[in-house]
Symmetry: C4
């Protein structure tokens, strides 16, 4: 046999690859912050141009916080696993897919939140956030079904599962309101990022 039928022991490369993707996605966000092109006509104009970019700064902060929390939770979850299976590699790959996409809707919202296109932009943004929550649930479910949890991790399973279940419902709500009320939809996502960060901080 070239591949043992049970789970593969050790997650070092899985974690290293994931950390690489998280680190790059979180660092690429800065490319969305554009230096205004004013040339010699700057002075007060530069200050105004920089302040007018506030949606870009807010988008940067929200997306940075989102990826940071995903990394913190990924870190906490994988510390409770004793290895991986092929399905877990692909469930994790789905999470990474959504994570690498984050700069795109962030830029979309930053560019259109103050225009008539706000609803469409907010819908894309909130849908992606929902995708993150669903992908995280899939990883957890795959790990549980693959019998990958360390023995002393099982007792807290019910408790954690409740927390992970909360995410999709709340982000689903943001998706529903995004088209008619774009600022509310994006606001819910930003609020959830802060909320999950606080939750994660307390634990």
């Amino acid at each position: 046999m070239t591949e043992p039928s049970g789970p593969i022991q050790g997650n070092a490369r899985l974690e290293a690859f994931s950390d690489g993707v998280f680190a790059i996605a979180i660092t690429l966000l800065v490319l969305e912050l554009k230096v205004p092109e004013l040339g010699e006509r700057s002075g007060d104009a530069l200050r105004h141009a920089l302040l007018a970019q506030w949606p870009a700064y807010l988008g940067f902060l929200t997306s940075f916080l989102t990826i940071l929390i995903i990394w913190v939770n990924h870190h906490a979850l994988f510390r409770q696993l004793r290895g991986h299976t092929r399905p877990l590699l692909f469930a994790n790959g789905l999470l990474l897919l959504v994570v690498t996409l984050i700069p795109f809707p962030t830029s979309l919202v930053s560019s259109y939140i103050l225009t008539p296109g706000a609803g469409t932009a907010a819908l894309v943004y909130c849908t992606l956030q929902l995708g993150l929550a669903l992908a995280f649930n899939l990883i957890w479910r795959t790990a549980y079904q693959g019998n990958l949890l360390l023995a002393d991790a099982h007792s807290g399973y019910a408790q954690i599962r409740r927390g992970y279940r909360l995410g999709p419902v709340l982000y689903g709500l943001a998706v529903l309101v995004a088209l008619p009320f774009p600022l509310l939809g994006v606001g819910i996502c930003a609020g959830l990022a802060v909320f999950f960060a606080a939750l994660s901080y307390e634990r």
Copy 2:
């Protein structure tokens, strides 16, 4: 002697460097997704502009899946090696060369698949996919000839070799049809990505 004549034990840095390249290449793909520049004229226009970019989304998904499968297979292959030789470092370097190139033909196909340039774009794309398959075969062959496989990995060699041999033939077919039938060529590559992912998932 500054360099032992036999293989070097341990692949930690080789794997770390490769994982870095895989992680960056897979994350850079998002830069191909452009935010439409509509300014105040958005609204319905934004939705249409986003939907009209469907070739870019398809290209993103195909290339993401391609790199993810390469990583999964790289991971599986190197778990069966006990070290490396200089030739293996360069065979691995060739694979990384093709991997870092992936965003270029992906962007080429996304931009030209609906234009008269589709044939040229598809030819470049399918040739690169063929290059990936050939580079992976070279790594395997170099590892085998350098006597780098772990003892219990040898029994499954014939079986794996068959799988690796399949790749170049199928991708070669895609190259042949790419110029006259661009969509077919790219479609074969996308289909093979899904096929190898399913194969890899099952194992």
Copy 3:
């Protein structure tokens, strides 16, 4: 319990994720160096265009040195810690937030230091440098309060704390002078980068 109440042993993933962010931020700086677009009209024109970009080269060097020193100090600090707590993950996240932002003010200063917008650009740049110093202090304080220092690290605490306290004061000074005297503000930051590098080199 899914999470031990005391500190988590080991910082391998925390360091790997941080190293990834440092490595990407330091490498992305090169994207600010633009190749002049002269076409066939080059010759002497190219030499002049390249030399006229000197603020961009200076900005690149200063920011590169800044991130390198942060990495060296991060490396030295975490070698004295025996693990991490949730608050430390977020304090470290704040440092990474400021680090990923570095290319933005660097590009801002490079573009505007010779225009009437210099004061605004310098203010943003110096404020970010102050943020770096404050974030580093927060990490240190969080680690100390979380009782994360290795036993033999405690004796040198007072000495190190003095060094870390120096940073915010000096960068605060740069912030104060940045608006009226932009070159002086940026010069103080560049000087501090060289100074802390020399200090760090000597230790």
Copy 4:
């Protein structure tokens, strides 16, 4: 003492950070390959536009090979060290500085090698290659003077030093001829990359 006065044992983070920078610099090279903007006027035009970019492909290949060889040699050198000192951290930082710069002169040469600005572009490119060779020598010298070499590495020191000394002389020659004979200068660098790769492959 917060810092032992002797060398620090272990190079794990130093290697991880360096590998990150190498991996990112080698992957960013692809951003220099531009997709031609032809819109509907493609067809034969796309094939011609792609072929006309041959200097960009050559530049990509040369720079990729250069960074790959640096990584292979970095890998080989650090396997012979038992730790690091502060000066080694900064010598290594200087190498990383030059490595992150590589995409800039590569793009410069690709854009100007067929124009009157070729001499200037070639001079910048060859100077950077000389900088790489010098930085590598500095790392080696710093490691030797800091007494960081493993016991069994010393016997081969004279042999290796000869190889490392060859680099600066040959790249210095390329710098000298770059301004009057741009193609010759760049050709020497490309030839040296292939030569050192072959040398490294043989060992």
